[in-house]
Amino acid sequence: MQKSTLTGQRLVAVFLVGCILFNYPVLSLFDRVATLFDLPLVFAYLFGAWGGLILLMAWVVERRSDQRTERSGG
């Protein structure tokens, strides 16, 4: 009945992934004075994970084929 339930569930999954990536204890793994590609490790990690999360969100909501099936199903 609820339109785009699958997309909704995927977004919740992305939310949970984000909560894990951006908090203790995963965050602490990268929280030291070190560099990655000349960037501070935690800086590179946070922006990398953030960008990845946004890509994932964009991919989830912008998928065309899914929407069509969901619309007809809903």
Binding site: F22, L39, I54
Partner: protein, 915 residues
């Protein structure tokens, strides 16, 4: 070029440009061609989240806490992933109920309570005032900085009179512009398309300006991002800033800031305004879900590089880190860039101030002032006065008042805090709306009293642990309030309430205020069941995403006069707009004349919704109640209506299921019908074949009889030959008719079966004996290969003989005379007996093998070879074999002879007894 007049002129030019955009946006909206109906513009308007706090303050925070500024943007990113649920529900609810603000939302949810709307408004105003002060402070200090060029440190505010204070004038200018943007029109509806367009433009400007500084610092002042970080990392003091735990205080702080910012993106009045109230279509939410976080990422990309660059460049010079964005270009004599940065900061500030004060003024007007005014008898509610002008005046007054309050806070407490500190105080205040909002959207049991108690408790704790200490820090309250607690009671120390130490003051406030807020909300809500009004509104909100929920009109009963309603709406929207609205309602209901409208529940609901858009749901409710004679519904009645609605829902689901079943049944019927048609066609074919087969011998008999009758001189031998033909044709005719009857009997199930234990060996032997004359006549060798003894089998002896004889006579027909050979085999395996009749005839073509078992179909080419036999033998044989659960088939290759084989299951007791 950075003299005061130039900067002021550029600022005003920029504001004029914004105003032009807003004006154009409003014109387009009036023409029905919205420019903001675009997901990108929608996402950009949400970026009003990034204020001067982001623009200047993030760098300041990064200079102290390193990556500790990021949770403020990670929180909203995470919440946007839930936008598909949470924001969609808020948007749909708001549209369905014409919600104008967050106060309206909460008031409407808990039974359209004016008290609750007022409380939310008060909290929002008090909570947001420091945030507005922050914007004023940022614009003022950036102005002081830039006109003081080339000095990098602004002269200390002299604390002089208000009229010599730049900030005061900035507040007044911003108030003027806000009034121009938000309350220019005489229609007091909730939407402001032009404002949204201007805000979207401002978001682009601030992102570009900040990006320009970032690129300049990274690549102009330093040799790229790697070089900048490499130099910073060589300083152990700066290197620490690149870590979380050492930079910011702890992971607990990190978590509470993430949570706080995530709630702020939902419940800040300006975010609610652009995201929910100004939303044009739900579809736009989809792109905003990822585009807005992307904006946040981009605007934060250069924060840490700028902070580190500034710290290295200005080491020991006492330059405030909050000003690095501006002072870095200034220190490099980049005057144009500095001006651009100033304009970007102005964008960030004006965008926030305009949207926030418009949202707050709507709340103050609809949920605070109007309810009070409407209560006072002196306003003479029943006079036919146009109040739409009054509405706008109230809003304009509220805008000025809010900005002046912001200025007041700035004067009182502004200097004690960095930008980020002030912003977090506001975030913590609006976070208090979370339990009532989220609880209200997902929990039916929440009541008005619960929401009131929760909000009051949370707000009180917030004020005690964050707001009052901010006054104390600025010297307005004694410093001992923080250090010793209220009345010197240690347990009441505002930053260590009840002795809770070890948390930073924001996490500390968040914990205690949420504990109080959620606790009071839940406990008080559970003290009594929801009232009728609460229950009906709860359904509207909790079931917002369900397709069938009772519309508001279902929950109203009473009587009203249509003319009164039109007049009432006219007083708030203006008579012309009211007439237009009701005329379009009449047209939708097929009435040409709006005066003939019947004041039923639908019309009353429509009028209430129109009013809600202008004065908020709680006041609209009260106003409609003042002209309509309402019969209040009791809780059981409301529950009945809601139950009916849910019954309707289940009925409709039931109906859907039934219609699906019906569809399936239709499909089956169609298939059955096609099958029937096919059978009918077969029957026709059969009749045609039968007629044809009967006619052939009849024609022959008739022809010879006529010869005999007409020509008496026929010689005797001729006569005998003709009579012989007549007899044999008659016999063939008899056989044919017998077989047709036989076939019909078997097919209809009327055949008589004499089932007994049969020895198949003897069946085969007797059949061979019966046909031996045929073999001898044609000179065909018949060999027999029988198993020594086979188990008895249940069957009809005569019928089985009929099968074997049929196969044998077929075989003898097709083998060549004199050197033909026919072999009969009987084999037994575990569960069946198998009889095969093999000949060395011409064989059967592959395409014929399937059809020879059809009635009247014979092997070979019907055009060239004369058919032998009736064409019913094999079909009857197959029917008989199948009757006893067996199979009859042919194996043959053309030129290699043919084998007709039938097998009968040994264990066929059941067969033949129940057909």
């Amino acid at each position: 070029m950075l003299q005061g007049p130039v900067v002021i002129a550029v600022s005003f030019l920029y504001l004029a440009l914004l105003f032009a955009v807003a004006y154009w946006g409003d014109k387009r909206a009036d023409a029905g061609r919205s420019i903001i109906s675009n997901p990108t513009i929608y996402a950009l308007s949400m970026a009003v989240y990034c204020t001067t706090w982001t623009y200047y303050g993030s760098v300041g925070r990064a200079a102290v806490t390193g990556v500790g500024f990021l949770p403020i943007y990670l929180g909203p990113t995470l919440v946007m992933t839930l936008g598909g649920f949470l924001l969609l529900k808020m948007i749909r609810t708001a549209k369905a109920n014409r919600i104008t603000s967050i106060a309206d939302f909460i008031a409407s949810r808990y039974g359209k309570s004016q008290l609750l709307g007022g409380l939310v408004t008060v909290i929002a105003v008090i909570g947001i005032v420091p945030y507005i002060a922050l914007q004023l402070k940022a614009v003022a200090s950036s102005y002081d900085l830039i006109v003081g060029y080339p000095a990098l440190i602004a002269p200390a505010e002299s604390g002089s009179s208000i009229f010599a204070d730049t900030t005061f004038y900035i507040a007044l200018i911003l108030a003027t512009f806000t009034i121009l943007f938000g309350t220019r029109h005489l229609d007091a509806t909730e939407r402001h398309e032009g404002m949204v367009a201007a805000v979207a433009l401002e978001s682009v400007v601030k992102l570009m300006a900040f990006g320009a500084v970032g690129l300049f610092v990274t690549f102009g002042l330093y040799g790229g991002i790697g070089d900048l970080f490499a130099r910073a990392m060589s300083d152990p003091q700066l290197a620490k800033l690149t870590a979380v735990a050492s930079g910011s205080r702890s992971y607990a702080t990190w978590f509470s800031l993430t949570l706080l910012a995530g709630l702020a993106i939902l419940f800040l009045p300006r975010q609610f305004q652009v995201t929910v109230v100004e939303n044009v279509s739900e579809a736009q939410l989809k792109r905003a879900i990822w585009l807005f976080p992307l904006y946040l990422l981009l605007i934060n990309l250069f924060v840490l590089p700028i902070a580190l660059g500034g710290l290295m460049r200005f080491a020991g010079q006492g330059v405030d880190a909050d000003t690095f964005v501006l002072t870095l270009p200034m220190s490099a004599q980049q005057e144009l860039l500095a001006l651009l940065v100033f304009v970007g900061g102005l964008s960030a500030a004006t965008g926030m101030v305009i949207v926030e004060t418009i949202a707050l003024s709507t709340m103050v007007c609809n949920d605070l002032v109007m309810p009070l005014l409407l209560r006072t008898k002196t306003l003479a509610l029943h006079t036919e006065r146009d109040l739409s002008g009054l509405l706008l005046s109230i809003r304009r007054g509220a805008i000025v008042l809010i900005l002046l309050l912001g200025y007041l806070y700035f004067r009182l407490a502004g200097d004690a805090y960095a930008l980020v500190g002030i912003g977090l105080i506001s975030f913590s205040a609006v976070a208090q709306f979370a339990p009532a909002m989220i609880g209200g959207m997902y929990w039916r049991g929440g009541t008005r009293n619960g929401a009131l108690a929760g909000l009051l408790a949370g707000f009180a704790v917030w004020a005690y642990t964050l707001l009052l200490p901010s006054f104390s820090k600025s010297g307005w309250l004694p410093a001992s309030f923080i250090s010793d607690g209220l009345f010197g009671i240690t347990l009441l120390k505002p930053h260590q309430l009840f002795g809770l130490a070890g948390l930073d003051d924001i996490s500390h406030c968040l914990f205690w205020s949420f504990a109080a807020n959620i606790g009071a909300y839940v406990v008080v809500s559970l003290l009594r069941a929801p009232t009728a009004a609460e229950a009906s509104q709860a359904t509207q909100f909790v079931d917002a995403l369900k397709t069938t929920r009772p519309v508001g009109s279902a929950l109203w009963r009473g009587s009203a006069d249509a003319a009164d309603l039109v007049a009432l709406v006219g007083r708030f929207l203006g008579p012309v707009r009211a007439e237009t609205a009701f005329a379009s309602y009449a047209r939708r209901h097929g009435l040409a004349d709006p005066s003939k409208l019947e004041a039923d529940a639908d019309l009353v609901h429509y009028a209430e919704m129109l009013l809600a858009g202008a004065i908020g749901s709680a006041s609209a409710r009260a106003m409609v109640a003042s002209v309509a004679k309402e019969e209040p519904l009791s809780l059981p009645e409301v529950m009945n209506i809601l139950d009916e609605a849910s019954q309707l829902r289940s009925y409709s689901r039931e109906l859907e299921r039934k219609s699906r079943e019906l569809e399936a049944a239709t499909g089956e019927l169609k298939a059955a019908n096609e099958q029937l048609l096919e059978v009918d066609r077969l029957k026709d074919d059969f009749m045609a074949s039968v007629s044809h087969e009967l006619r052939t011998p009849l024609t022959s008999i008739r022809a010879f009889s006529e010869i005999l009758r007409d020509d008496p001189k026929t010689a005797l031998p001729e006569r005998e030959r003709f009579l012989g033909i007549i007899v044999s044709e008659t016999e063939r005719l008899t056989r044919l008719v017998n077989q047709i009857l036989d076939m019909a009997k078997i097919e209809s199930g009327n055949a008589e079966w004499l089932v007994e234990d049969v020895d198949l060996n003897s069946v085969v032997e007797q059949s061979m004996a019966a046909t031996s004359q045929l073999f001898r006549d044609k000179g065909v060798a018949l060999s027999l290969d029988l198993a020594s003894s086979v188990p008895l089998i249940r069957g009809d002896r005569d019928r089985l003989m009929q099968v074997v004889i049929n196969l044998l006579s077929n075989a003898v027909k097709f083998v060549p005379p004199n050197d033909g050979r026919v072999t009969v085999r009987l084999m037994a395996d575990n569960d069946s007996l198998r009889v095969s009749v093999t000949d060395n005839g011409p064989g059967i073509r592959l395409e014929d093998q399937a059809v020879i078992f059809d009635r009247f179909r014979q092997g070979g080419d019907a055009m060239t070879s004369k058919p032998t036999g009736t064409g019913l033998g094999l079909p009857i044989s197959r029917k008989i074999v199948e009757y006893f659960g067996g199979k009859l088939w042919v194996e043959s290759e053309p030129g290699q002879g043919a084998s007709f084989i039938f097998s009968l299951p040994l264990n066929n007791n059941e067969n033949g007894t129940n057909e």
